[in-house]
């Protein structure tokens, strides 16, 4: 069953009690939280996601709860736990939803070593994937969000799960984390976008989460092959430009952007080297999303280029 089939009361009760087994891509996470804001957010963002039964295998056990002590009553906070550990300091209560997303990212990047995990947005069209690696602020989430509503399937705005066996990318299809001005930019340009309430003062600035469009969630089991590695860079007032980048430099930059490159050693190197070998590698500078859409629409898959 999907999460949207639970009533708000059932969802809240599940989260307060034994937990809800949320399926996101190849992972199942048991989430517990007594915080209403988390239940509201999950109802908005994860309605199309499958809920696994209580007997099914769970990869991660997470919770978002209020820590004990005086903070329970005064300037309430939210604490994330992952399999009994607390990887982050508690954050203000109204950041509980972004904290859940950051925590789910942490679960994947610290445990999912069956993949080479790159810090990259991932979108797909006609069976071909564009990887958008980039540091925070490069504009990859905004680009992913806009293109998701303009002909591309979203696999992830943040984490590329690359198979070490065959180089295919496995989708996660989790909410897009939007920051600061990009929240309003997407609201204006995509009126149908479903966006969570804004957590205004996080370490990353204002943060809101965008629900993944239904088609991308429905196809979450479909892997796809990378065809392009595109390093985006948002630059105010810049004319959109797609410029070739050398494969050697792309490889090194991808290695720097990988969470577990060193874990995989030679296999990780071969995986990245094969990936850039097969892909067109580019730097992409942009300021206007519509220009970006046009340029991305003209990308030719490897066979035709």
């Amino acid at each position: 069953m999907n999460l949207s089939q639970l009533s708000p009361a059932e969802l809240a009760e599940g989260l307060r009690g034994p937990g809800i087994n949320l399926c996101t891509g190849p992972f199942t996470t048991r989430i517990r939280s007594p915080i209403e804001y988390v239940a509201e957010g999950m109802a908005l963002l994860y309605g199309n996601n499958r809920i696994a039964g209580p007997e099914e295998f769970v990869d991660f056990h997470v919770a978002i709860e209020a820590p004990g002590g005086i903070r329970r009553w005064w300037r309430r906070q939210a604490l994330f736990t992952l399999d009994g550990t607390t990887p982050f300091a508690p954050l203000p209560y109204d950041e509980a939803l972004p904290l859940l997303e950051w925590g789910l990212n942490r679960a994947v990047t610290s445990h999912a070593h069956t993949y080479l995990v790159l810090h990259a947005g991932v979108i797909e069209r006609d069976g071909w994937v564009a990887l958008l690696p980039g540091r925070p602020g490069a504009g990859k989430s905004t680009l992913c969000a806009y293109l998701m509503f303009n002909g591309w399937r979203l696999l992830s705005d943040e984490l590329a799960l690359v198979s070490l066996e065959d180089g295919l990318v496995t989708p996660l299809a989790r909410p897009v984390s939007m920051k600061n001005q990009s929240i309003e930019v997407i609201r204006e340009r995509v009126p149908e976008a479903q966006i969570s309430r804004v957590s205004g003062n996080t370490v990353k600035g204002a943060v809101a989460l965008l629900k993944v469009e239904a088609g991308s969630v429905a196809r979450v089991a479909e892997q796809a092959r990378p065809a392009w590695v595109i390093f985006p860079r948002f630059q105010p007032a810049a004319e959109a430009e797609l410029a070739p980048r050398s494969k050697a430099q792309a490889l090194l930059e991808l290695g720097n952007n990988a969470f577990n490159y060193s874990v995989h050693g030679l296999r990780g190197f071969r995986c990245l080297a094969d990936l850039v070998e097969r892909c067109g590698c580019y730097d992409f500078t942009y300021s206007e999303l519509e220009e970006a859409r046009e340029i991305f629409a003209r990308l030719a898959p490897p066979e035709a280029s």
Binding site: S246, K247, A248, Q249, L251, L252, G255, S262, G265, L266, F269, R270, A273, E277
Partner: protein, 94 residues
């Protein structure tokens, strides 16, 4: 006697080449390096056997069809220094 240099275990080095850019992964250290043509040439030469800086300069000059000169010597010295820092080469035990 001039110091001889050798590469780390060549079987631990995995190479990929795209036009004039060479990427070498050192499975001993887990480091990945981007090298230009000349640096890659020096490292590949040292993978075949030990050589001194003078030998490398002479061989490089022959390959480039020029006389050995100060600029080439400085260049080879700089490459060897960098390789030592990156632990890609080590002195040949005498």
């Amino acid at each position: 006697m001039a110091e001889l240099w050798k590469s780390v275990d060549p079987s631990k080095l995995e190479w990929r080449v795209w036009s004039d850019e060479h990427v070498v992964y050192d499975d001993g250290s887990g480091d990945t390096h981007l090298l230009d043509d000349e640096a890659a040439g020096v490292l590949r030469r040292l993978c075949q056997g030990p050589a001194s800086a003078d030998q490398l300069v002479a061989e490089l000059a022959q390959e480039l069809e020029i006389e050995p000169n100060q600029v080439l010597e400085s260049h080879v010295e700089a490459i060897l220094k960098k390789f030592r820092q990156l632990a890609l080469i080590e002195p040949e035990a005498s």
